[in-house]
């Protein structure tokens, strides 16, 4: 992205005012790691959002609240009760990228291979948007289409709220790559609520191998009310094929990618169930 100007507002209100005035000639800049790759013919004014006090992680009631400008490495290092976000963050790119790129930058403009939208969809996260005042929306609404739509008027993402997992709730995520730092071939995540060995509720999401991150509702439907055992997980994972449009690439056929996603879902479900039964912290 070509930058014609670079400004560092001191408050959220100032940042929004500047972005509103700039319109399409302005762009929020967090870590700047994605901006580097964005193609735009006309240069824009970068509005630095890393100096607005938006870098923090706090537990507040039933949620972990993560500031939008929090770098991925901080999320990876953080530890809280039944915390599960560190695993996926550790799997994103390299140490140097994780130190700079932010959770907000990863989800404000979603690229097909982005990992965090998958995890946030499965976790039933909530997103906080500032438009003069703060408003919240569910991950389902937020990721129902390209989130960049929400920020065109100068509004900003300020925080991501992640439910603190209750007892008997478990989470698992799997990212498949060719080598450690590569972009994902398939990323899947699952949240399970168990009661006496039976699945009471399930949220399963996928990304990277499909055009846009999404929940896999047929997989969820095949889980609820059933016993949390491998045979059930396998059958549910097999429903993934019809749940989304799987896309091949890098010499791999769509069918291969679908199979990869299915075994990854199985793995994520096993991990979520193990977590729900009481994982070692």
């Amino acid at each position: 992205m070509k930058l014609s100007e670079f400004i560092r507002p001191a408050t959220l209100a100032e940042a929004r005012k500047a972005l509103r005035a700039l319109g399409p000639k302005g762009m929020p800049l967090a870590g700047g790691t994605a901006l580097h790759f964005m193609q735009g013919k006309t240069p824009v004014t970068a509005v630095d959002v890393t100096r607005l006090g938006l870098s923090y992680i706090r537990q507040k009631g039933n949620y972990f609240v993560i500031g939008a400008a929090t770098p991925l490495s901080d999320i990876q290092r953080y530890r809280g009760p039944r915390w599960a976000m560190h695993e996926i963050c550790r799997r994103i790119s390299t140490h140097q990228i994780r130190n700079v790129s932010t959770i907000g930058g990863n989800i404000a403009r979603v690229f097909p291979w982005a990992d965090l939208p998958v995890v946030l969809l499965a976790m039933d996260a909530r997103l906080v948007i500032y438009s003069g005042k703060e408003k919240e929306m569910t991950a389902d609404e937020y990721f129902s289409a390209q989130p960049a739509r929400l920020f065109r008027g100068g509004d900003l993402l300020t925080a991501v709220k992640i439910p603190v997992l209750k007892a008997h709730h478990g989470f698992g995520s799997v990212k498949v790559t060719r080598n450690a730092a590569a972009f994902s071939l398939a990323t899947v995540a699952a949240l399970l609520e168990l009661k006496d060995g039976v699945i009471k509720a399930a949220r399963v999401a996928a990304g990277s191998a499909i055009p846009f991150p999404q929940r896999l509702k047929p997989v969820e439907a095949a889980l609820v009310g059933k016993e949390a055992v491998t045979a059930v997980f396998k059958e549910a994972a097999a429903a993934a094929g019809a749940a989304a449009k799987w896309v091949g690439g890098e010499g791999m056929s769509a069918d291969y990618i679908r199979q990869l996603a299915e075994v990854s879902i199985l793995d994520a479900l096993e991990r979520a169930a193990e977590f729900a039964r009481g994982r070692a912290e």
Binding site: M1, K2, L3, S4, E5, F6, R8, L29, G32, T33, H36, F37, P43, T45, A46, D48, T50, S73, Q76, R77, R79, H86, R90, S93, T94, H95, Q96, I97, N99, V100, A180, A181
Partner: protein
């Protein structure tokens, strides 16, 4: 021709300086232009690690960072770690292990290792791998770099009082 229309002020290797720049100049370009040539340009797209510098103590790719993002921060380059005449501990071990071939990746490797040594107190393999996962070497196959790093870390760990040996930063 670079038209420098803006200024940016940050601490570079302990010295506060103001540089002329423009809004879309990358920190790497500015540093090399200003004589900090130890920081290398490899891929220019955040994958090789040759341009690694420390930003407020954290390893960062200078090829992705806009120079303007460094305002008010502390930047450290390889020049702050060692020189040809006075190499740092890891640099000495790299030479001793014969771990350097073309040498292009080495400043970046050393900066990532510096972040590791200055942040962590326990150097388990998992943590070491995490800090070093953003630096590629196209010559050596990593083995000797790893050997040199292990030696440096083991020395540093044994020099520290045992009471301090609890992990504080990155956990697995």
């Amino acid at each position: 021709m670079t038209t420098t229309t803006h200024t940016v002020t940050f601490t570079i290797n302990g010295e506060k300086k103001t540089f002329a720049t423009r809004p879309d100049e990358k920190l790497l370009t500015l540093l090399r232009r200003e004589g900090y040539r130890g920081t290398k340009y490899g891929c220019g797209q955040g994958t090789c690690g040759a341009c690694t510098v420390l930003l407020d103590g954290r390893a960062t790719y200078a090829c992705l960072l806009y120079a303007m993002q460094a305002e008010g921060r502390k930047v450290r380059t390889i020049e702050s770690v060692g020189t040809f005449d006075k190499p740092g501990e890891f640099q000495k071990e790299l030479v001793a292990a014969g771990a350097v071939q073309c040498g292009y990746c080495i400043p970046g490797m050393v900066m990532s290792a510096t972040a590791l040594m200055e942040t962590e107190e326990v150097f388990e393999d998992e943590i070491v791998k995490e800090y070093m996962d953003g630096n590629l070497c196209r010559c050596t196959g990593y083995e000797k770099i790893w050997v040199a790093l292990r030696k440096t870390l083991d020395k540093q760990a044994s020099a520290k009082p045992a009471a301090k040996k609890t992990a504080k930063g990155a956990k697995k």
